[in-house]
């Protein structure tokens, strides 16, 4: 855990980090110098001091962690870790008709990283172990009483309850989120693609080559395609977020309007789109708008049009159709939120405005909207970043199409970065470029969030809520 904490900290204040590091090293030195034999042996055998001081609970825990990690690193991880710098050198070969697999670059990278994590965890636990010994020794030296094993145990449910609560979630996130992300970042610096596919072929480190390819604007370069897709991604997220936002508020106000009855019924009808799984509804809607779909079919039948409208074939139309269908998905959600918030606006604000003779439009502009914008600022931001990565709507509706020869890497006119990335992974197994795009998606998302977040009026002190 400590390595994670130091990670972001380094970004914030490098100097701070080094001063902590220096004082840490100093403390370790002092611990060893002033330590008795129990403490000193603990430098090698975790928890040794605690065990001899009668604190067998924490002593055993430390020892078990040490044994577990050592077993993992040397029993499993070492073979992978040692090859991490080359990602494997032994090629797959044939013995008669039998295949003998060589090194598997993928597993070397994956488990090499996992082992690296284990080593960092080992160092962290070692540091904790040293500090515990120091504390115990100091307590004894000052003539105070050590906590009992029972105290240790009970603290897990009181003063150290946070550790109990967070231990599993943090480890889960570390193994199933952090490790894969670090892995994919590494892949961006390798040549892992269809021609270097483990287990039969090796892949290796290539430095910044993939980034060069992304930013090269030649005919085979990804540069212009990347820019085109990026612009549409940003535009799409803007349209999807704000159109849904305003229309959602409008619908909510309409339903809340005095004199409109069956409020619950209207809401329920709209909310069906949230409840029905999107892979069912969106696939159906996609077929609905197809050139040979029901909408075109009926329009042709009644003679409103003479030839089918190419909803998905024409780039501009496809974009419009997607935004429109997204309204269908987005309004109910926004409507629910707006309904709750509109009720929170103090009624006397409207009362006094009415007495002043304000028109409904003026009231909307000067009371409702400012209030909503203020309160939902952070929500709009998360909506925006969510839409940047809105995979379902694009993938299920247009699959990113229409495709065009002007874009490389199989990208279509309505592809977002995220769907483009998906295609590259699944259809072309071009993991290296997908990883680069993934990093770009992160940079875009983080960049937008950072800029907007600092502009928001409603970013308040977190403690202020409590």
């Amino acid at each position: 855990m400590a390595n994670k904490k130091s990670g972001p900290k380094k970004k914030n204040a490098l100097a701070n980090f080094f001063s902590i590091l220096v004082s840490d090293l100093k403390e370790i030195g002092v611990t060893f110098k002033e330590g008795d034999f129990k403490t000193r042996i603990s430098f090698l055998i975790f928890g040794f001091g605690s065990l001899l001081r009668g604190l067998w609970l924490r002593g055993l825990a430390l020892l078990a962690v040490e044994a577990g990690l050592l077993y993992f690193v040397f029993g499993f991880g070492w073979t992978y870790l040692s090859k991490l710098s080359t990602l494997g050198t032994i090629a797959t070969s044939k013995k008669g008709r039998k295949t003998v697999y060589g090194d598997n670059s993928f597993l070397i990278l994956l488990f090499g990283l996992l082992t690296l994590f284990a080593v960092i965890a080992f160092i962290t636990v070692w540091r904790i172990n040293v500090r515990i010994n120091r504390t115990e020794q100091l307590i004894l030296k000052n003539g105070r009483k050590l906590p009992t094993n029972k105290d240790d145990f009970l603290s897990l449910f009181d003063s150290n309850f946070d550790k109990t609560l967070l231990a599993l979630p943090v480890i889960g996130i570390f193994v199933f989120t952090v490790l894969p992300i670090v892995f994919m970042i590494c892949v961006a610096f390798t040549n892992y693609d269809a021609n270097h596919q483990p287990p039969s072929n090796l892949f290796t480190w290539v430095g910044l080559e993939n980034f060069h390819q992304l930013f090269s604007f030649g005919s085979a370069g990804f540069g212009s395609t990347f820019v085109t897709v990026l612009i549409w991604t940003l535009l799409w997220a803007l349209l999807a977020t704000f159109i849904d936002y305003f229309l959602g508020i409008a619908v909510a106000m309409l339903i809340n309007k005095k004199g409109i009855r069956f409020k619950k019924l209207w809401r329920t009808i709209l909310v069906v789109t949230i409840a029905v799984p999107q892979f069912v509804s969106l696939l159906y809607v996609s077929k609905l708008f197809a050139r040979d779909g029901l909408i075109n079919g009926y329009l042709l039948k009644i003679g409103a049009i003479t030839s089918a409208i190419p909803f998905w074939e024409n780039a501009t139309l496809a974009k419009i159709t997607i935004v429109v269908v997204n309204i269908w998905i987005g309004i109910p959600y926004m409507m629910l939120i707006a309904t709750g918030l509109l009720m929170n606006i103090p009624e006397d604000l409207y009362e006094s405005a009415r007495i002043d003779g304000a028109t409904p439009w003026q009231m909307f502009r000067h009371i409702t909207m400012p209030y909503m914008l203020f309160v939902t600022g952070p929500f709009l931001l998360t909506q925006y970043t969510g839409n940047l990565n809105n995979f379902n709507v694009i993938f299920l509706l247009s699959q990113g199409g229409p495709k065009t020869g002007n874009l490389v890497g199989g990208a279509g006119r309505t592809d977002l970065l995220i769907t483009w990335l998906y295609k590259m992974t699944i259809n072309d197994t071009n993991y290296r470029m997908a990883a680069v795009i993934g990093i770009m998606v992160f940079i875009v998302t983080a960049g937008v969030s950072l800029v907007v977040y600092n502009l928001l009026p409603s970013v308040k002190d977190e403690e202020g809520f409590q």
Binding site: K4, P169, M184, I260, A275, V276, Y284, T376
Partner: protein, 294 residues
């Protein structure tokens, strides 16, 4: 005079209401139309002697039949019941475990002040900005190492979903933040441990947010196509409904499965929708709270 103004106000309001109703009815029609089409298609037989199971250019089937539903639940012809059960198991487990996970994380982050707390929160926020698809292949091989792919895909999916759920603590933590801290303090002065406060005070007071978290977690797996298909490939019995049914729409081997897809979709949608309707109140509370807190 006053009467006249009141009268015109009344007519104005009445006209406004009429327009409002017309708009609402139009909206309702647009919103429900795809579901109506879906439902109708599901009643069109795929049996060649009755009607046709592929795409057609009309909505109302010529003859109503339950053939598609019969097909779905006929275990000799396909594994739909198995897929459905798989999804249900995943949903239930994920719902329970995710909720527990989120409650733990939220309580720790809301109530306890420990070293590295803000760093942890910031770190998770940053992690959430990485696109998830990238990590699929990595997760696949991690799970494969412990035997949780293909035949073991169901527990594998549950594990991955639960393991990363801690990062979705925002709404729940926001709710905990609104519970006055003074209550906790009072109980602690009386000698209750943190765990006791958490279990006997905070959790009982958080019914809406628990239901919200569980509901959202329950609904997720029904739509999970991308990751589930990645983990379970080549093992028909480990598919969830989304993965299995997606094939009926996109894989060329399944010609004329359109109406069966529609029927399958309806069967999936009904319980989820009902549950959602039933718990709608809590959902609204959750999203509203979450939106305001951001």
């Amino acid at each position: 005079m006053a009467n006249k103004i009141q009268g015109s106000m009344k007519t104005k309001r009445a006209v406004g209401n009429v327009i409002g109703y017309i708009v609402l009815i139009l909206i309702s029609l647009i919103w429900l139309f795809p579901y109506f089409g879906l439902l109708m298609a599901s009643f069109r037989s795929f049996d060649a002697s009755v009607e046709y199971g592929g795409m057609v250019d009309y909505i109302i089937p010529h003859t109503f039949s339950l053939d598609n539903y019969r097909f779905l639940f006929d275990t000799t012809q396909n594994n739909y019941t198995r897929w459905y059960l798989n999804t249900l198991i995943i949903s239930l487990c994920v719902s329970v475990l995710n909720t527990l996970n989120v409650l733990c994380v939220s309580y720790a982050l809301s109530r306890m002040r420990f070293k590295g707390r803000t760093l942890l929160m910031r770190f998770w926020l940053v992690l959430g900005m990485f696109p998830g698809f990238l990590t699929m292949i990595c997760l696949y091989f991690l799970l494969k190492q412990v035997g949780l792919t293909q035949a073991g895909a169901i527990p594998g999916l549950i594990l991955v979903s639960v393991a990363s759920s801690g990062m979705g603590y925002y709404v729940c933590k926001g709710y905990f933040d609104t519970i006055p801290k003074a209550l906790d303090e009072a109980a602690r002065i009386d000698g209750a441990s943190r765990a006791r406060v958490f279990l006997t005070m905070t959790i009982p007071m958080s019914k809406p947010i628990i239901i919200y978290t569980a509901l959202v977690a329950f609904m997720g797996p029904w739509c999970d196509y991308v990751f589930a298909s990645y983990i379970a490939f080549g093992h028909d019995k480990s598919y969830n409904v989304a993965v299995a049914m997606q094939r009926w729409m996109v894989v060329g081997d399944y010609q004329g499965y359109f109406t069966r897809f529609c029927a399958g979709g309806i069967v999936v949608a009904i319980p989820v929708t009902l549950l959602f309707m039933f718990l709608q109140k809590y959902y609204v509370e959750g999203v509203t709270g979450g939106a305001v807190k951001g």
